[in-house]
Structure formats: structure tokens, C-alpha cells
Symmetry: C2
Subunit: 434 residues, 2 copies
């Protein structure tokens, strides 16, 4: 077999066999297929796409290119959750304690990632003392004793995907559904869950800008998972404005804690209840979605959810007092308030712009090597649909550098569209794919 | 500027500026744009193509990436000819002496090239003593004294094209019109002629399999040339069967000599008269195509053309006696005759198959490093349209190795389609693009 012939075959519109995809992926990982042939191959896939069988095979081949996590120490159904990413997405911080407090074990490996803010693992590090690296024994002990542990990805998960993604990132071949779905699902498969709930975000702050393409991506991932014998469900959720009212790291943990106490924003709480209900149902904790939702709402009302958060923080070496005094999270002291320049409504927001502004403040990484400032970020006072009076605060920027503040203000200003048009209210859940 | 953004822009269907194409090509040559980004870029062009301005710019940038040949020592209009290549294409060997004998100076640099047989330069080396490398002084002296010199490409012509072509060759991005046309034209522009006659071949033995795509390619090249101020004309010519009756090296020189003496096959003579007439007209040797054709036919009848061939051979150190005794060319002594397996007609031929058989005999290079056996090849007795009786010779294979002969017979057999269907006679010229 020659890489040239595989590229040519796909380029000319023919379906690739498992052996052909294997030849390309394994060959690339081993250094036998050079990066220029892989780059040409990826661009061919960008234009010609892959069918369900090809996606299944690509996912399978990348999933078994590295370690497989063994979760057999947990009895019952192991349920995982994955978000395609958005601005102000602190869902895991709220959802994990909620579902754990309902009896579903959470053994989660999360990423750091590039982007507007840190990943879940970065955010958790805003909690003084919190250890995001546990030994395997500690991890297992915590999941057994507390039903919850959230740690960084230390294992060698799907290295083929990692290597291919790095090439996609520099060759303009990231945004293609076969490649996105197989990339995400290869890591999920290697992570060892039996059931996976996907949160596919759509809108100005998401990778997928319209519901049709978000649904296509959800369908692709659900189908790949099912073909691998996993129970799957995907929610299509709104990311046309940031999730909740905070974008950053410490500031997002604060909002997560508020939400677990019942004082959070509606969109975030609703999203966590909806995702959590799917998890509890897939995990057979309860039969129906409606009873699952009741359980989750109760976990907040009863205080069980915030108690579980405290328990997790303590079990991973963090200071549990942050739950009662969020000022311990260390949000920066310097603030700048962006004021509305006219009366009217927030007609729309460029959620991505808010994310970029947050990154410019130092809350996210532009390059892998960048260090995150956990204390900075943006607190929104107004979001799409809210009415504003001239001079009212639209949002508050938490900063540590005047220079970075300036760059952030530039972007955040143009991310608010104020006009006399009151937009329709849009719910957080756009659809379900299962 | 970043390579990523240029790839993305073109991928999304936008026109590239000259600066953007320059950034990619010059960057690639300098090693600043890595081969994997260039490979992705080339695949984008394969799918999205380039418009006339982009092609013009790409050609220009590649043309000036190396040396430019200065032909100003020749007075008057400098006319060049280029063939897109086919099986049994010995046109230059016939055409160059013909037009030179009519008063048009021929200062030609030819290639060796990969393929079914050697290039013009390899073929010329079948003439004992013939030097395909001359000093600049010798080259100029010969063109001035004899109006003819044919040498190998020694100059650093369009190295950007060379480097890009090498990458296209291994990434399945060769067969795209923008890339083909700019590649050919960049070398032609650097070669310094004022006027260029293109021989765009079409059919089973050519790169372009149908007249529509051959015409598109011709149009693209003619337009690029004109935009650069060159006088241009392209003929679309038949390559659905090999040109003439010989495929190889020494054996093709033999047929070229026969043709210059007036004893050649009609298709080859007609093609040379048609191409030559365009050259004489562009070179302002005569006003009309019809008078040019008369001059060229006369050059054969009068013996001036073969005399010019002898003159060229002598002036480049070769043994001019080959013109009178072609056995001096050293065609191999071992022959195998392929016989017709039934009565009927040669309904069609796979010209490329005949070419591959010739390569398998050793007449062409599969890889750059391969050594050519100039003495082997195939002499056709029957071509498309001819009637055959069972047991009659279809073609004769000249060989030096039984093993290679076997491999060649396998291919050559399946390249003849014998049936009771008499195909329509097809002329050698399918069209003119100017």
C-alpha cells in the first residue's frame, strides 16, 4: 500500500477501507507516512468527507493508538460527559457534584486546553490547595468513597489524534465533521465510559455557528459511539451568548459554587439539570428524565450538591472554605466597568469576542506555553435580551495589567450590539440527538 | 502574513492576491513555509482551482524563481515549442531541423524526464558521439552558424516549480489545470522565447483524456502566455494511439530520420507540418499558414530538412553517417513479434499501455535514478483503424532481457483491442486554441 494511492482514492470520491485508514494513521504516528502526505490527506477529507463506516474506523484506530482507561473498579454503568466548548462553560464544575450527589459515580479526566479561558482543570486550580493530579490509588479511592474525582488527563490518550490534530491546526483542516467527531470520540472511547452525554454548543461563541451543522456533528458523534456499543445522547445547546455571567477561571468557580447553592444563573442551572438528567438516565439511576430532573433540582435545594462539591474539594486537598467564602478564590482586585453607550436592548452578542477579550486579559492561552492568570476575567451584567440604559454597566473586567485591559476593552466593546430591537428569548436547549 | 490564513482563504473560495501566492511559493522555496502547509495548499488548489489572475501570478512567481535564459543574441522573434507529452512523441527531432531549414532559428533546451521513453535529450544520445551539453559559447555559435542547437536543460530554470512539482507528485495534486498550466508556462517563460507553440495531446496515451479538458489546459496556457506578452498558439493533437510507429529511443530517432527523408508515417509528418507552420507564422518567416506548410513540405522534398539534421548532428559532435545508415543507432538485435489472435480491426489502442510496455523493456525511467536502455523499444505494425488477419504481426518488441520482455508482453497484449468494428478515421489535429 502507498499513501499516494490512498490520497488519490479518497480524492476521487471512493470509500476507504479500514486497512487504508489504518495505513495512513498508524503510518503517520510511526513516522512512515510523512506529514506532507498526511496534510494532503486531511485536506482531501475536508473536501470529500467520510461516511459513517470510515468515521467509525478512523475513531477506532485513533482510540487504540494509546492507553485505554480501565474504569472496571466502578460497579454499574460508567457515564461520561463532553462539551464541544464555549465561552464561560463551567458546566462540569456544577454538573459533576450534582450527579454524584444523586448517586452516579463521576470519575472524570478533564483537559486544560487552549482558548478563551482555561479548561476545567485550570479552573479547579483556582481553589487553594486543590490537587488536579492524583495517583491511580487516590483517584480510585476518591471515586469509591465520594463518588467523585476530577483530575487532569495524564494518560497517553489517543496520541494519534493528538498528532493529527496538531497538523490539522496548522493546515486549515480543523472544521470538518468527520475529523471533529472522530477526534472527540477517539478520546472518549479511550477514556473507558459505557455511556456518553454530549453537549454540542452552537452559536457565536461555539465552533458550530448554526443548528444544522451542530446537529450534523452531534449525529456523527452519537452514531460513532453507538457503533462502538456505547449508550449515547447529545444535546444541542445555546452558545450565542456566554454561559452564565462569568468568563475566566476563579470567577467561573465562584459562579459554579453560587449555582450549586441555588443562586446561579438560570441558563447554567437549566443546562446542568438537562445534561445531568440524561446522565442519570443513561446511568440507570432513575427511569425517566422527569424524575431525574427532580432529583437534580432537589440536590441543589437540599444542599446535597454543594456538600458534594465541598467533599470533592476536601478529598483532593483543596480548602473547602472557598464554598462559604468565595473571596478565597482570589479574583483580581482591579476592575473596569464597561458602560452602555445608549438606551435600548442588548440585541445580540459576539460570544467569541467576549472569550477573546477574556484571553487578552490573561485568562486563557493563545499558545500551549502561555501561563494563565486565574484571577482575571469578565463578569457580565447584561446579556442578549436585557434592556439597558445609557451609562449602566454592561460588564466588569477584572484585570492585573493596564496594557492587557486596553486590548480587552477594544474587543469587548465590539462584542455588544446595542439597539432598539428587543430580540426573541431563546432557550438554552435547542435539540436532542440520540 | 501566515501560511495558515492563505490556505484558509483559498479553501473558503476567495481569490488570492499576488502577495499571498508569493508568500506561499517564495516561502516554500526558502523553507519558511513547511512542506505540510504547501501540501495542504496544493490540495486546496486541486479542489478550488485558480482563476486567470491567480494562474498568471503563480506562473510569474515560479518563472522568476531561477535563471532566465537570454536569447537576445538571436535577431528577430524567438519561437519555442512545447509538447505536453505522449507515447512515441519524437516531434522535436523532426520539427527542429524542418523549421531551421526554413530559416527559423531553433535554440532549444529539452528535458530528459520520467516516462514511457526517454526525453528528446535521451533520444539524441542514441546518435553516436552526439553531445547534449554544449558550452554557452558553443550553443550560441551553433545557433548563429546553423540556426539549430538542441541541448539539455542545464540552467536553474524555475526551481520553485521543480520543488512544488516534486511535492505534487507524492500528494496526488498533479492533475489540476491551474497547477499544470502554471508549471509548464513558468519554465517556458524562463526559457526566454517571444512566441510559443504548444502541442497539447489528448487521448489514451496523454495526460488529458478528453478534448474538453485538453482544450481547457490549452486555453489556460495560452492565456497565461498572452498576459505575459508572448505570442501564443496551441494545437490539440491526437494521442489516442502512439505517434508514428515507433516507441523507444534509438528506434524513434530512426523514424525521425525516415520522416525527414520523406519516408515517415503520415500522422507524424502532418503534425510536424502543422506545428511548424504555426512556428514559422509566429516567427514571421512567412505571412500565412498555407505558405508555411508549403515551405515545410518542400524542406522534406528538397532534402533541406534532412541536410539540416545532418548539420546539427555534426555540429554537436555526432556521427552524421547515422542519417544514411540508421543501423548505426544501435537498435537491439533481439526481437519478439506479437501476432494478432483473430481477424478484424484494431478497434482501439491503449496508447499508455504501449508506453508502459516500452518502459518495462527498459526504454523509459520509472524513477529519476533509472538508467535507460536506448536500444530497446516497440515498433508497431498495426495501429487503430488498421485491418488485421489472425497471425499477422501487430508489433515487434526490441529487447535485451527475457525477463523484461515477459513483463512488456503482458502489457502490450492488453493494449490492443481487436474486434470486427472498424473505427472511424481520426485526424491528428483536433483543434487550435489561440
Amino acid at each position: 500500500m502507498r499513501a499516494y494511492d490512498v490520497i488519490l482514492k479518497k480524492r476521487n470520491g471512493h470509500e476507504l477501507s479500514k486497512e487504508e485508514i489504518e495505513f495512513m494513521v498508524d503510518g503517520f504516528v510511526k513516522g512512515e507516512v510523512p506529514d506532507y502526505q498526511m496534510a494532503a490527506f486531511l485536506m482531501v477529507i475536508y473536501f470529500k468527507h467520510m461516511n459513517a463506516d470510515e468515521r467509525y474506523n478512523l475513531t477506532e484506530i485513533m482510540a487504540r493508538s494509546g492507553d485505554s482507561i480501565d474504569l472496571s473498579f466502578i460497579s454499574g454503568i460508567k457515564v461520561d460527559k463532553h462539551s464541544t466548548g464555549g465561552v464561560g462553560d463551567k458546566t462540569t464544575l456544577v454538573l459533576a457534584p450534582m450527579v454524584a450527589s444523586c448517586g452516579l459515580p463521576v470519575a472524570k479526566m478533564s483537559g486544560r486546553g487552549l482558548g478563551h479561558t482555561g479548561g476545567t482543570i485550570d479552573k479547579l486550580e483556582a481553589i487553594p490547595g486543590f490537587k488536579t493530579t492524583l495517583t491511580e490509588a487516590e483517584f480510585k479511592k476518591n471515586v469509591k468513597a465520594h463518588l467523585i474525582a476530577v483530575v487532569g488527563q495524564t494518560a497517553n490518550l489517543a496520541p494519534a489524534d493528538k498528532k493529527i490534530y496538531a497538523l490539522r491546526d496548522v493546515t486549515a483542516t480543523v472544521d470538518e465533521i468527520s475529523l471533529i467527531s472522530s477526534s472527540i470520540m477517539s478520546k472518549k472511547l479511550a477514556a473507558g465510559a459505557d455511556a456518553i452525554v454530549l453537549d454540542v454548543k452552537v452559536g457565536s461563541g461555539a465552533f458550530m455557528k448554526d443548528i444544522a451543522s451542530a446537529t450534523d456533528l452531534a449525529r456523527a458523534m452519537v452514531d460513532i459511539g453507538k457503533k462502538h456499543g456505547k449508550a449515547m445522547v447529545a444535546l444541542i445547546t445555546d452558545m450565542d451568548k456566554p454561559l452564565g455571567y462569568t468568563v475566566g477561571n476563579a470567577i467561573e468557580v465562584e459562579e459554579a459554587i453560587d449555582t450549586l447553592k441555588g443562586n446561579g444563573p438560570t441558563d447554567l442551572e437549566t443546562l446542568c439539570v438537562e445534561l445531568g438528567a440524561q446522565m442519570l438516565k443513561l446511568g440507570k439511576i432513575t427511569e425517566s428524565l422527569s424524575s431525574a430532573k427532580e432529583m437534580l433540582k432537589d440536590s441543589i435545594k437540599s444542599g446535597n450538591a454543594i456538600k458534594k462539591m465541598k467533599e470533592m474539594i476536601e478529598s483532593q486537598g483543596g480548602n473547602p472554605s472557598v464554598v462559604d467564602d468565595t473571596s478565597l478564590l482570589g479574583v483580581s482586585k482591579n476592575t473596569f466597568e464597561l458602560k452602555a453607550w445608549k438606551d435600548g436592548y442588548v440585541t445580540s452578542m459576539d460570544a467569541e469576542g467576549i472569550g477573546i477579550a477574556s484571553m487578552k486579559l490573561g485568562a486563557g492561552r493563545e499558545k500551549k506555553e502561555d501561563k494563565i492568570d486565574l484571577s482575571v476575567g469578565i463578569r457580565l451584567s447584561k446579556k442578549t435580551g436585557d434592556s439597558v440604559k445609557m451609562g449602566e454597566t454592561l460588564c466588569t473586567l477584572y484585570y492585573n495589567s493596564e496594557e492587557k485591559l486596553k486590548a480587552a476593552i477594544e474587543v469587548v466593546k465590539t462584542s455588544y450590539n446595542l439597539s432598539s430591537v428587543r430580540p426573541q428569548k431563546i432557550g438554552i436547549i435547542h435539540g436532542v440527538v440520540e
